[in-house]
């Protein structure tokens, strides 16, 4: 694997391999010293064109736990606002020789495009309404831990604004690759025409929600109302809110965050033991560790155990110029 651009390009074996690696890294998170030297001397660049404290911090934490250097580059307040193109920004930042670029943009296909412009491994942290592959991987990881029978054969309902959700797209694909049956449900104005071609079923009401083993609620963005996708949030909540009345006792509740309490989820279900929302956040770090490890150190025979402290991974065979570099005094540098 050279890049992680989409879930679409991963098969079940690859998803399972990343998730299994994440499980090994989970043990690191429980230690007093939450760090392994697997990616020491490697540089991970977070390039974010959209505000995202949560995803960015999750990637930053993941990179740091693997001892990588992290540089955060936010598009606001930078050269981007002075009119620099995506290509020029990427070429400029590539001069710092990052080993991986974690990229979040509002444009579908941007991660794939960037992967053609530079030698770094590209991790798609969300490209427009297209995909958000690490979210899907962490959701698979979370579900595998939570569902006693595994994901195979499970019924998963994804509820809400499917049209504007990259999480929905990645998860429809990922859950099905793992053997689940996926149903999307939401207001007809927010279910894109043609989505059933991805293999999922479509419902416009929650009448059959009881059939679901897992209920995955999507975040409802308030600005959708201004564009007349919905008459009101009140009406949305009346028809599609997951609340104590609609959520069955054995159903698992997921949400990519941040939650709008009282809109897509009622407060009581957020706080219920069925909700695995904080487990998803926790899974985010270990799954992103596994992704970075897979891209920058992994996929070779006779891998050293990356979870064993005190032994660094061997240098990257393809990049001899990066070996023997002195450690940087600080792990994080702020550019721009």
């Amino acid at each position: 694997m050279n890049h992680l651009l989409s879930i679409e390009e991963l098969d079940r074996t690859e998803i399972e391999r990343i998730v299994a690696q994440a499980a090994r890294f989970a043990e690191v998170s429980d230690r007093d010293i939450k760090k392994v030297p697997a990616l020491r001397g490697r540089m991970v660049l977070n390039l974010f064109y959209e505000a995202s404290t949560r995803t960015r911090s999750s990637f930053e934490l993941a990179a740091k736990r693997l001892s990588a250097d992290v540089v955060n580059f936010a598009a606001s307040g930078s050269s981007v606002e002075k009119g620099e193109s995506l290509k020029d920004t990427v070429l400029t930042l590539s001069a710092h020789k990052p080993d991986a670029i974690v990229l979040r943009t509002p444009w579908a296909g941007a991660a794939e495009l960037v992967s053609r412009w530079c030698t770094a491994a590209i991790v798609n942290a969300g490209d427009g309404k297209h995909e958000h592959p690490t979210q899907a991987l962490l959701d698979v990881y979370t579900l595998l831990k939570r569902l006693p029978g595994g994901i195979d054969g499970a019924s998963i309902w994804i509820v809400g604004d499917v049209a504007h959700s990259r999480v929905a797209r990645s998860n429809i694909i990922a859950f099905q690759r793992m053997g689940a049956r996926v149903t999307v449900a939401g207001p007809p104005t927010l279910i894109p025409r043609g989505i059933e071609a991805l293999g999922c079923e479509v419902r416009y009401t929650l009448d059959e929600l009881a059939k679901a083993d897992v209920v995955y609620a999507l975040r409802m963005q308030h600005e959708r109302m201004n564009e007349s996708f919905l008459p009101s949030l009140r009406e949305y909540a009346a028809w599609y809110q997951i609340n104590g009345r609609r959520l069955g006792p054995r159903q698992v509740l997921m949400h990519p965050g941040p939650v709008n309490r009282g809109v897509e989820l009622s407060g009581e279900v957020v706080d219920s033991p069925q909700a695995v929302i904080t487990a998803q956040v926790e899974a985010g770090v270990v799954v992103r560790m596994a992704v970075l490890y897979e891209l920058l150190a992994g996929a070779r025979e006779h891998q050293p155990d990356p979870t064993r402290p005190g032994r660094s991974a061997p240098g990257h065979p393809g990049r001899p110029d990066r070996q023997g570099q002195p450690d940087r005094p600080e792990n994080v540098k702020q550019l721009a």
Binding site: W107, G109, R166, R169, R193
Partner: protein, 433 residues
């Protein structure tokens, strides 16, 4: 109205002897090997093979094994002048046209500033008289600045040489505004060409709405955005007995709406592009920005209906909608990229390779449809007959090439057929109209 509406840069009238050429002009009823003499830019003599000899300053060209066709005519190109010469100018755009076998073309008015006033049209025609490598004509805007609010001075623009009127790139949103333009056409004439799109349906769209847009998470443009407007404006044209031309049809429902309008006897005509005839939304899966155009590439059913419409005459002609954009403008994420593909240099070869060779269309019919555009704008049709202006294209149907392998004559390279192996190489274009 005639050829004087077109402008061309200075050139030496051709004196040629094309020996042993397979002359094909379905309108003239010619499909045989001939020698053809061109003198002073006119077709002087068509004789049996081996009967004509070059005399005087005539350049003799051995055309054996080659096809001599009437030069193609493109009623829809963007030459980007004035204002966007970094994409194309009159010289590069017409050079690209000549390289594609076109002996005439009509430029759209969505320039910067918009071609909506007589002085601007005059200066543009002056520029064309210096720079254009083939005869070109100009359409003027229907509404000032393409804003859809006020009519341009259509009568004065016509007197200054506007072939017709279009807000191409944008629809005329208001039916009332379009109706006024159609009424005013009775005074000034000139075909009114319409880019059909309902912006309330297409808003936020980057490609055709369907399974591919759903999978890619790209905003979709539904086909009804075009077809409802075609139906609306065909009805308006029928009511006002006006002459309208629908630009770049892209879907089944629009073809049906045009067929209905023609059955009513309404004065409508239409065009289709090579990319809509050959490509579909599936070609957008890779999010290659060269595949982003307006109207967007639609489904296989739409594509087939367009081919069928072209064959049965519901669609009158082929137009490229040649829309050059600079490399840096297209080298961005799909949603940010401007709409449009170049097409002049690949139109014939792409259609010959993908439609004629597999037996979908006859070569004669393709030639007819690639030369039919001029008549829709009251211009003479390129014909291979004694005494006609020499508007000729010599092609090597067996000549194979990779599109773009030697670069492009156009200033831009955003061609949706780039890299394809095509057959039907244009060797020579004579544009002496």
């Amino acid at each position: 109205m005639g050829a004087e509406m077109l402008v061309q840069g200075p050139g030496v009238p051709a004196n040629l002897l094309l020996a042993d050429a397979h002359v094909l002009d379905p309108r003239a009823g010619i499909d045989a090997i001939h020698d053809v003499r061109v003198r002073g830019g006119e077709i002087a003599e068509i004789g049996a093979p081996g009967t004509l000899q070059a005399v005087g300053d005539e350049e003799a060209i051995d055309a054996s094994g080659r096809h001599l066709l009437p030069a193609f005519f493109d009623p829809h190109v963007h030459l980007r002048t004035p204002g966007q010469e970094h994409k194309e100018d009159l010289e590069t755009g017409t050079r690209a046209a000549a390289a594609g076998g076109f002996g005439g073309a009509i430029a759209m008015p969505n320039t910067d500033p918009v071609l909506d006033s007589a002085p601007l049209l005059r200066s543009l025609r002056d520029s064309a008289a210096r720079e254009a490598r083939i005869p070109i004509g100009f359409m003027a805007a229907i509404t000032r600045g393409l804003e859809g609010e006020e009519l341009t001075e259509m009568a004065e623009l016509r007197r200054e040489g506007a072939l017709g009127f279009t807000d191409d790139g944008r629809p005329v949103r208001s039916a009332g505004m379009l109706r006024k333009a159609l009424q005013y056409q009775r005074l000034c004439g000139g075909t009114i060409a319409l880019h059909e799109e309902d912006p309330t349906l297409s808003k936020g769209g980057a490609m055709h709405e369907g399974t591919v847009s759903a999978a890619l998470g790209l905003g979709g443009i539904p086909s009804v955005s075009e077809s409802t407007m075609v139906a609306r404006d065909a009805a308006l044209a029928g009511y006002e007995r006006a002459r309208v031309h629908f630009q770049h049809l892209s879907c089944v429902a629009s073809v049906q709406a045009v067929a209905h309008a023609k059955a009513q006897g309404w004065r409508v005509s239409t065009e289709v592009t090579p990319h809509h005839l050959l490509l579909t939304e599936e070609d957008v899966r890779g999010m290659d920005t060269r595949m982003k155009m307006n109207p967007p590439l639609a489904t296989e059913d739409d594509r087939k209906a367009l081919v069928e419409g072209l064959r049965d005459g519901t669609i009158d002609c082929v137009a490229t909608d040649h829309a050059p954009h600079a490399r840096e403008e297209k080298e961005v994420p799909f949603e940010q990229a401007p709409m449009g593909t170049t097409g002049l240099e690949t139109a014939f070869a792409a259609l010959y390779t993908e439609l004629v060779l597999p037996g979908v269309l006859e070569l004669g019919l393709l030639v007819e449809r690639m030369t039919a555009g001029s008549a829709l704008f009251e211009l003479p049709t390129h014909t291979i007959e004694n005494g006609e202006p020499a508007n000729l294209t010599l092609v090597d149907l067996d000549g194979e090439f990779l599109a773009g392998e030697h670069g492009w004559e156009s200033r831009s390279e955003n061609c949706c057929f780039a890299g394809r192996r095509l057959r039907g190489r244009v060797l020579l274009t004579v544009a002496a109209a």
